[in-house]
């Protein structure tokens, strides 16, 4: 070998892309001392065929030095604003105290899943056999950790002044409706790596991010929540990288082998429906929980799924993909989804970790305008009835636990696709047991993998089986109150649940804003 210490007179200038390619050149492990199947044991069992991992390039092409630099710049700005927010009681600038319930939903329902995503992408980063997807997944893993941690730091200030989120992780593992996002993510993580990435990177991030993450951030912007919206802006460039991974992974898998197409299509059908059901929570947030509305659920669904998603799937037709199964049902139900959801949370105000309310006259007028075909006909009378009962001091609570869907874990509260006045029930038999579903989509998912979904930790079943009480609780005691015992298991304190009207949050809000007759702000230097 000649000893060339001097390079050719002027070294080649490298573009960022070329630099990335050189820096990661040949890093992929082609093992010879240990069999590849032992080093990467998860790449075959799902039936996906990969002929050339090299074709899956890391779409981010960020070298670590650049990553540290850019992310540190973003972090400096973000924490400067969080600090300012805290120093200046920024939580007092939101549109109304009711808004904070959106933040509670976000911190208990979404932030823990950012951590789940961190773990899932670590699994993918280790299990994919090519260097491109490994690095891409690893970068997403650390980004998701970022999102979990910065969300906690952002919302920490709200936790100091408002109830319902003080034990967000404990609640996340226990509270009935939080099993909806929890089971969704665990479903993806317990699947194989290819299904996992199709579920989260494509079906969730690429197809639905504008309907999950962005509505919360837009709501924050519209409602004066400086902290959360700053986080949102700061995460935007991460999110677009993650979306890119979603579309690249789909194209790679489809191009590798024609046998992959039907498998991917089935995953897209499943994860579209799973994701859509999860969005039920977002629909009610958009239509009912946000004091200053951004757009209606129906408008968002039409724009982001029907139009943008439709264009996407037309583009993917050349690979042999079609629109996800049952998508038409989501369009029909767009007029009803949020009302069915908010009604449920109004019914079960005792058991959720935020403070719901009966829509005000102004809220209802907005709904009438956004949902001219359905709101006045089906839902306004119900809410007006609730309001009448409230006036009479007979606020309606549903004290019977609902039947949950075995797949999505939402109570069976949705209506038949062709009849808004009938509740939709489906069922399947498996090993001598009956299982119940909210929809055709959820039943199909179960029927394909019953051995998986029979394992679901269904909160209502668990309560009835006595698994949702603190150790030491005696259900045979004379004065045993099962609801109180469950709330204790959730670690709910005063003000975590029940109506916004009369809640400690409302009382404090009015006091802090100087709107209450007593208790003006004290001035201190």
């Amino acid at each position: 070998m000649t000893d060339k210490t001097t390079a050719a007179a002027a070294p080649k200038k490298l573009s960022l892309k070329a630099k990335y390619a050189q820096l990661t050149r040949g890093l992929g492990w082609e093992t010879t001392y240990q069999p590849p199947d032992k080093v990467f044991p998860q790449t075959h069992f799902e039936g996906i065929k990969i002929h050339d991992w090299e074709k899956w390039e890391d779409p981010f092409r960020l070298t670590m030095d650049a990553y540290w630099k850019y992310q540190a710049e973003k972090e400096k700005k973000l924490y400067a604003i969080i600090d300012a927010f805290q120093q200046n009681n920024g939580h007092l600038n939101v549109s109304d105290g009711r808004y904070v319930n959106t933040v509670k939903l976000f911190l208990t329902g979404i932030s823990p899943e950012e951590y789940s995503a961190h773990r899932m992408f670590a699994m993918l980063g280790r299990n994919f056999a090519g260097v491109g997807p490994q690095i891409a997944a690893q970068m997403q893993s650390i980004d998701e950790l970022r999102h979990a941690q910065t969300q906690i730091h952002t919302i920490s200030q709200y936790n100091k002044y408002f109830n319902g989120m003080h034990d967000f992780r404990h609640m996340h593992d226990r509270v009935w409706y939080l099993s909806v996002p929890k089971s969704y993510f665990e479903d993806a993580m317990t699947a194989g790596p290819f299904e996992g990435i199709v579920a989260i990177s494509f079906s969730f991030e690429y197809v639905l991010t504008n309907l999950i993450f962005m509505p919360f951030m837009s709501a924050a912007a519209y409602n004066g929540d400086m902290a959360t919206v700053t986080f949102g802006f700061s995460a935007q460039s991460d999110e677009s990288r993650h979306m890119t991974l979603g579309i690249e992974c789909i194209k790679f898998l489809l191009e590798q082998d024609p046998g992959n197409v039907p498998i991917i299509q089935r995953w897209i059908d499943k994860w579209f429906w799973r994701g859509y059901r999860l969005l039920t929570l977002v629909s009610m947030m958009m239509d009912f929980m946000v004091p200053k509305k951004v757009m209606s659920w129906k408008e968002a669904w039409d724009m982001y799924f029907v139009q943008n998603g439709g264009a996407l799937f037309r583009d993917l037709e050349r690979y042999g993909l079609r629109m996800p199964k049952y998508w038409e049902q989501t369009v029909v139900a767009a007029d009803r989804l949020s009302c069915e959801a908010w009604n449920t949370f109004y019914n079960y105000a005792a058991a959720a970790n935020f403070n719901p309310w009966c829509p005000t006259a102004e809220d209802m007028d907005w709904m009438s305008q956004k949902y001219p075909g359905t709101f006045d006909k089906y839902y306004r009378p119900r809410f007006e009835h609730y309001r009448e009962l409230e006036k009479q001091g007979k606020r309606f609570y549903n004290t019977t636990l609902p039947m949950l869907c075995q797949t999505c874990q939402i109570p069976l509260v949705f209506s038949e696709p062709d009849d808004p006045t009938q509740t939709c029930y489906r069922e399947s038999d498996y090993n001598g047991m009956k299982y119940h579903f909210c929809s055709d989509g959820c039943k199909d998912i179960f029927d394909h993998e019953p051995e998986k979904y029979v394992q679901a930790w269904l909160p209502v079943h668990q309560i009835y089986q006595g698994n949702c009480f603190k150790p030491g609780t005696d259900p045979t005691a004379k004065d045993f109150n099962p609801l109180a015992a469950v709330l204790e298991y959730y670690n709910f304190g005063p003000g975590d649940n029940m109506d916004y009207a009369g809640s400690p949050d409302e009382t404090n809000w009015l006091k802090w804003k100087g709107l209450a007759k007593s208790g003006p702000l004290k001035m201190a230097s």
Binding site: R25, G26, N88, I135, N159, P504
Partner: protein
């Protein structure tokens, strides 16, 4: 005279999250590290068994033989959460960037004695593959470990190792004028040269360790604990003496990084060993076994670098590791 700004003070309802307060023993202000770390991982009521490991829950403490009463007993002495991590690394990166710039601007590598440049190519460049192996191993721990205290720290380590692999690549590009030829040669040597085969086998053997804490010991404690003193410490010193202080500039990131790694890795091992006799015995057995394997795997590399002094140098690296193990409470 002091300037006073009047602000409205309102009393918070609470100081921190309940799960954090339970760990602090009272509701009192918590640090950002604590709020970003404690109990962030789900720990009960899992829904489905993984298709890829039906014997275990999604997260399962039984994926390691180490037993802890509290997996958040592990405290990162650096108190890294994402924000503090990237800010710290951006600073190190800034220094590294200036160093690489300096070397490039002055064509400093061109003025190296010829034998030295050859040694850099032969010794440093293939190590990028070891670094990428370390990246995958830390990725494994982030995937299957228990608790955020562990997975956050190993995630930062995972990205660090990719970063170091890339810095090593940049040294190659400085030498070959951005053609990548030196990296191709290094890869070929890594795959085929007998000097590297025992080390390559060692990394591959580590890839198939199932117990993530054992892997932590084998990679972060033992392999790094011998390789870094052997290569970056001593060889770096030797290079400087031979007129290669320029190389020390290019590996400054690795030196700073390793000094920091030792602190948190030792703290974690010490915490696990202090928990019980069983942990201590298990960790000691793993460390002994890994140290023996690792020493054998590094022997040809030591010989390549240090010739007849190789044994003494390896002994020294081994002694440094031994001292750390003893300090962490292991029996060796």
């Amino acid at each position: 005279m002091s300037v006073e700004i009047k602000t409205a003070a309102i009393d918070p309802v609470r100081q921190t999250f309940s799960h954090v307060a339970r760990r602090l023993g009272a509701d009192k202000p918590a640090s950002r590290y604590q709020e970003a770390t404690f109990d962030l991982q789900s720990d009960c009521n899992f829904h489905y068994r993984p298709l890829w490991d039906p014997e275990h829950e999604l997260y399962d403490k039984r994926r390691t033989a180490i037993r802890m009463n509290d997996w958040y007993a592990f405290k990162d002495p650096r108190q890294f959460y994402y924000g503090t991590y990237v800010l710290n690394r951006a600073k190190l990166q800034d220094t590294a960037e200036n160093n690489f710039d300096f070397v490039e601007r002055h064509g400093a590598l061109a003025s190296l004695p010829k034998g030295l440049a050859r040694r850099i190519k032969a010794i440093l460049l293939p190590l990028r593959h070891v670094e990428y192996g370390a990246n995958l191993n830390n990725c494994y721990i982030s995937a299957y470990g228990w608790g955020t205290a562990i997975t956050a720290a190993t995630t930062f380590a995972m990205m660090d190792r990719l970063g170091i692999a890339q810095y090593l690549s940049r040294i190659g590009l400085l030498i070959d004028g951005n053609t990548g030829e030196s990296l191709a040669v290094a890869k070929d040597s890594w795959m085929n040269d007998p000097v590297w085969q025992p080390l390559r086998k060692l990394v591959e053997d580590n890839f198939v360790i199932k117990d993530w804490f054992e892997l932590f010991v084998a990679q972060n404690l033992v392999l790094d604990g011998m390789l870094y003193p052997l290569v970056y410490g001593r060889f770096g010193g030797e290079l400087s003496q031979a007129g290669g202080s320029v190389v020390a500039m290019l590996t400054e990131f690795m030196d700073t990084w390793y000094a920091e790694e030792v602190k948190w890795v030792d703290a974690f091992v010490k915490t696990a060993a202090a928990e019980s006799q069983e942990n201590k015995a298990q960790l000691s057995a793993w460390a002994r076994e890994a140290a023996a394997r690792t020493r054998d795997a590094l022997a040809p590399l030591a010989k390549l670098i240090y010739l007849e002094e190789a044994r003494a140098v390896l002994d020294d690296a081994g002694a440094q590791l031994q001292a750390r193990l003893v300090k962490a409470g292991l029996t060796v």
